[in-house]
Symmetry: C2
Subunit: 254 residues, 2 copies
DNA sequence: CGGGATATTGAGGGATGTCAAGGTAGGTGG
DNA sequence: CCACCTACCTTGACATCCCTCAATATCCCG
């Protein structure tokens, strides 16, 4: 609960400088197929370009926003990995998700006008800050754009459904298998290897996300390795048998 | 699993008849402070009225929609109680939420154009079917309306956050206490007693929602009764000590 | 080189799941 | 109206998964 790490300010000089140097445009972003513009027509993407989203670097371990902060922006990850989390009454944290390039954060702030969770960079990262008010204003005249926004929010609801399912009715092995397979697919969609990757999050963060202790996460990794499903070296993971890992999900041991 | 219970059709003759007899208007609905119109100005509510939502009765145990059905409507509960759920690979169900009067269901369908969960009435109920396409079309010209829709979806995301927290880091007593306190507040907001009510859902459904077995739910009810927090008679609940029940949440036993 | 964060592994215990038996309420048909 | 049936709830005994506590190893960084 490091109170030290400050929320970055939108008006930081370096952010302004960067924006001037390299205006951020969705139309030629390498993540356009995954991110906000996904499914939009050229016309709509041009409108997005006109907003000239500001870009910001976020250092590893730094918060992008915190629970209770005033909601102004939604954020798209350009590079790096984030976690979003809630703080419990007793100070522990509950991780709500991990976010890779092209994924959006902050949509939970629309409801109350304040962020309902915190977002923290797990490695040095870069984001686009999208002013929600402008986005809403613009989509008033553009039905397709508004629908896109609704779809994105709905997608977040569906994502949380599956997490709920995971937390509500799976054992430790199923949970970790589900986590790894989901991560593998998302990495693949971003052009990385689906079978070999480096985890950006600690065992404790994985455990919090999956509703188990860091020791159980560690033991389950070891167990998967002994079963020949994975090769694990700290945070470096190789999925040795994707099929059997998927089976661990579909066929509960019960 | 009962393939028998049919999804109701929007074109059921009785539904059409009812609509003609009593056109549904948000502006004089007794739930307007809790439901869709909440926070809208008079102008916007009039626009809602012009849509003339169709009303539908749903018998206890009947599905309103099912996972995979084409998404056309979002539904507002007028009376009765619903559960929403997902089906697991092995046939078990995972309950995702319970819905009282004034609450909306089906927003998870926007993402894919298909419903991502099923909704089933726990008692005889009545709903408003809100054609999503019309709603989206109308809100294109009305910024306030569109913002309302976004807020509602965001609220759903926040709701699932708290469920995630509950499933990820609470023990059986904390979970049941959280469930009862939440239900109590929602009943109070609807003009019912917050301290004495009838549960519309079975122990198994509560257990699925909270990520525990029906036996543990039953035992935890008994334990609360022995501690003097509740009086329990099957589905009839009286909260005898609201404060200590709330304490069970804030001060984990750990 | 030292210190802190992170990961692994073991031992033991406790919370919760599983299996089983019995009770109660409500609906249905004779 | 009663008998029966089914669904639901409660409770007990036991098993087991996972948490807790603890020791050690490893890595990274100053």
């Amino acid at each position: 609960m490091s109170i030290a790490s400050p929320t970055l300010s939108a008006s930081a000089p370096e952010a302004a400088a960067r924006t001037a140097a390299a205006p951020t445009q969705c139309s030629n972003c390498h993540l356009r197929e995954l991110c906000l513009p996904c499914g939009m027509d050229g016309n709509a993407v041009e409108r997005l370009d006109s907003l000239k989203f500001s870009r910001r670097r976020v250092k590893a371990g730094t918060s992008l926003y915190r629970e209770g902060d005033r909601f102004q922006f939604i954020y798209a990850v350009r590079s790096g990995t984030f976690k979003t989390s809630l703080e419990l009454a007793d100070g522990r944290e509950q991780v709500g998700g991990f976010h890779l390039g092209g994924e959006l954060m902050g949509l939970d702030g629309v409801a109350q006008g304040r962020h309902a969770s915190s977002a923290c960079a797990l490695e040095d990262a870069e984001i686009c800050a999208i002013p929600y008010a402008l986005l809403a204003e613009m989509s008033a005249g553009a039905p397709g754009m508004q629908h896109m926004l609704s779809r994105l929010m709905s997608r977040e609801i569906v994502r949380e459904h599956s997490l709920m399912l995971l937390l509500g009715s799976m054992n430790a092995e199923e949970r970790l298998a589900a986590f790894l397979l989901n991560l593998s697919q998302r990495l693949k969609a971003r052009g990385y290897s689906p079978s070999e990757f480096h985890l950006r999050m600690s065992r404790a963060e994985i455990g919090s996300y999956l509703g188990m202790t860091l020791e159980t996460v560690s033991r389950t990794f070891s167990s998967f390795q002994q079963q020949g499903l994975l090769e694990v070296d700290k945070r470096h993971i190789r999925i040795a048998d994707m099929q059997r890992l998927a089976d661990a999900l579909a066929m509960p041991v019960h």
